[in-house]
Point group: C2
Chain length 339, copies 2
DNA sequence: AACCTTCCCGCAACCGTTCCCATCAAATAA
DNA sequence: TTATTTGATGGGAACGGTTGCGGGAAGGTT
């Protein structure tokens, strides 16, 4: 960076005009003489002039940066969301600053604060699993800072939110299992405090109730997403008077682990029992048997979330709404059998 | 944003002192009376003062932002790299701005230019597969702009680069196949113009030569990473006078597809032929048979790349070096058989 | 000829900091 | 006492742009 970056003042001096005129010419302001306009542009091009966006941001109070807070970008689900956000952001001339909380609430608030400090125009946030206090959110909301939530949202915060349709997805999936003939359907769920788990469980219950089946509480197993939980769950189910003829795991990794475990036990899938997952992990398609699952379109979620943010920034006045991105049931071998 | 953000001038006025003093107090400059210091800090806390980092950046010519250019964040490999970059960046008070080129050279240069325009302190870049002209890189290099390359680097650019050890990885893998008894080893490669492909092919050749095996050019198949390439490749190999007894795919997705295809044909792996991949895709571990592959530690690559950048920014004067992150061979069922 | 527009352009304030330099009182040294 | 250092503070010029306001020249209208 030895060379002095050329500024509008340099150009103004060289052309013998004022920096205001140069500024206006470069901004294509109408009240500039055509001849002056071209002279300025030529000089700018000649000197490889690059406007200092910091100065511009400072005065215009806009950085054209959006802050994104996610738990973990290495999860394909979040990576796709980020990609979707990025896609619509770039299209509108925004850049995104990404921060990861690594599922730590402390890092989450630190990231959020750092982002508002660096003057992003808006914040797109997905909370950690563990986030239970939302003071930091209400605080920036009170200041009028533009916020949009996605995937895991802050309860009771009056901002646009984009979520996947957990209830519906689980509902459809369980209906699919029922159509396949299953009557005793086990549910592999996660920690009870997670909204997503509760919602998917809700869909599960709804489908069973509609089919006139009383939900046996012992069908439901709550894990902590650990590998060790799988064997225990299977033992539990198989010890029941009526072992399940279908299993619905609310996360694909769980379904995958179930399949491996059951296959190792010599059970045939889906003949002995059907298995379904949730989330359309890349593995799902490649396993044997390929896994029936529910695709959530995270890219779409990202796009919608970012679009909400752009509307917010553009001052489009609509009541902040909750947008639900509906996914799609992918019926595969783990419920249908070989095709 | 109705409220006027409080500035140091506001605090100065309220306390009846000059803004210089406030600035110094907040920066914990020694030459400030202790009493003034606490008064300033208390006023700042009371009014929830937030420094305007834009103004600071403008004057100090440092944004504490790093630009990251990657082809596709949805690829686990790149997601991990980004995560690694982020990790060391945050630790040192830097934020990262991420842009995706989507494997399009045009988007790549657009992103890079936008990033230098928004005054990032440095640029971490991984080129697209298709990037063949590197004018944009030389241009910013000439300006003295801090650049670090990773994974796919710009040839002939005198900047720190961090790459994985392609030659070594392929070499070790082929040696492993040889140890397993394979003698006719097919290579599923990618487009010839990609450096990674050429390097891995080099490792492949080296291992065979060392073992005293003449490389049969017909063993090598160049794909374009398409699904359709797989069937053709298999047909080609099986049509040879001596069909291969081992296959090395330089990308895991290829190995996975090979396994599925060969299994569908009724061939037993690894009994009929061994199969190995490269990259340690998450699927590799979960398939059946689990895939022998080479793990590249992308997180580490990201960390190293970012560390190089920080050194660069700190002015640590070392000749820009090429750093090689060596991976690890993961021997699994596709070469070893059931365990 | 006097007046009114319209078109260009320059002046200067402003955005919110940092930081160099000057100032001045108090403390120390001669 | 006087000279010198030290410590705390204020003034003001940057940083690189944007923008409201006013003015002058050119042209058109009564």
């Amino acid at each position: 960076m030895s060379k002095h970056q050329v500024t509008i003042v340099d150009i103004a001096r060289e052309l013998g005009i004022s920096k205001s005129t140069v500024s206006r010419a470069l901004a294509n302001h109408p009240n500039v003489h055509p001849q002056t306009h071209t002279r300025v542009w030529e000089a700018a091009k000649f000197h490889e002039y690059q406007p200092n966006l910091l100065a511009k941001s400072l005065i215009q109070r806009k950085t054209h940066h959006l802050g994104v807070v996610i738990p973990d970008i290495e999860k394909p689900f979040f990576a796709s969301i980020v990609s979707g956000i990025q896609h619509v952001a770039n299209r509108s001339g925004y850049r995104i600053i990404i921060t990861q909380s690594n599922e730590s609430p402390e890092e989450e608030v630190a990231n959020i604060q750092a982002l508002v400090l660096s003057r992003v125009d808006g914040l797109l946030v997905c909370h950690t699993r563990e986030t239970t206090h939302f003071d930091h959110m209400h605080q920036i909301y009170r200041k009028g800072f533009p916020v949009t939530g996605f995937a895991r949202i802050c309860p009771g915060l009056n901002v646009p939110n984009v979520v996947e349709n957990d209830v519906q997805g689980a509902y459809l999936m369980v209906r699919h299992l029922l159509e396949g003939g299953a009557r005793h359907i086990g549910l592999l769920s996660g920690p009870k405090n997670l909204t997503a788990c509760r919602l998917r469980e809700k869909g599960y219950r709804k489908a069973l109730q509609e089919a006139g089946i009383r939900v046996n509480p012992r069908w439901i197993v709550n894990t902590r997403f650990m590998k060790e939980d799988i064997a225990k769950a299977v033992d539990h189910w198989m010890g029941l008077p009526h072992p399940p003829d279908g299993l619905f795991a609310i996360y694909d990794a769980g379904a995958v682990a179930l399949i491996r475990h059951l296959k190792a036990q010599g059970r045939r899938i889906p003949d002995d029992l059907q298995i379904a997952g949730f989330g359309n992990d890349p593995v799902a398609e490649l396993m044997e048997p390929s896994l029936t699952t529910y695709a959530q379109f995270p890219f779409k979620i990202g796009e919608m979330a970012c679009q909400q943010m752009l509307d917010l920034l553009a001052g489009v006045k609509t009541a902040p709404k909750e947008i639900v991105v509906t996914g799609k049931l992918l019926k595969r071998q783990s419920t249908l059998g070989p095709v």
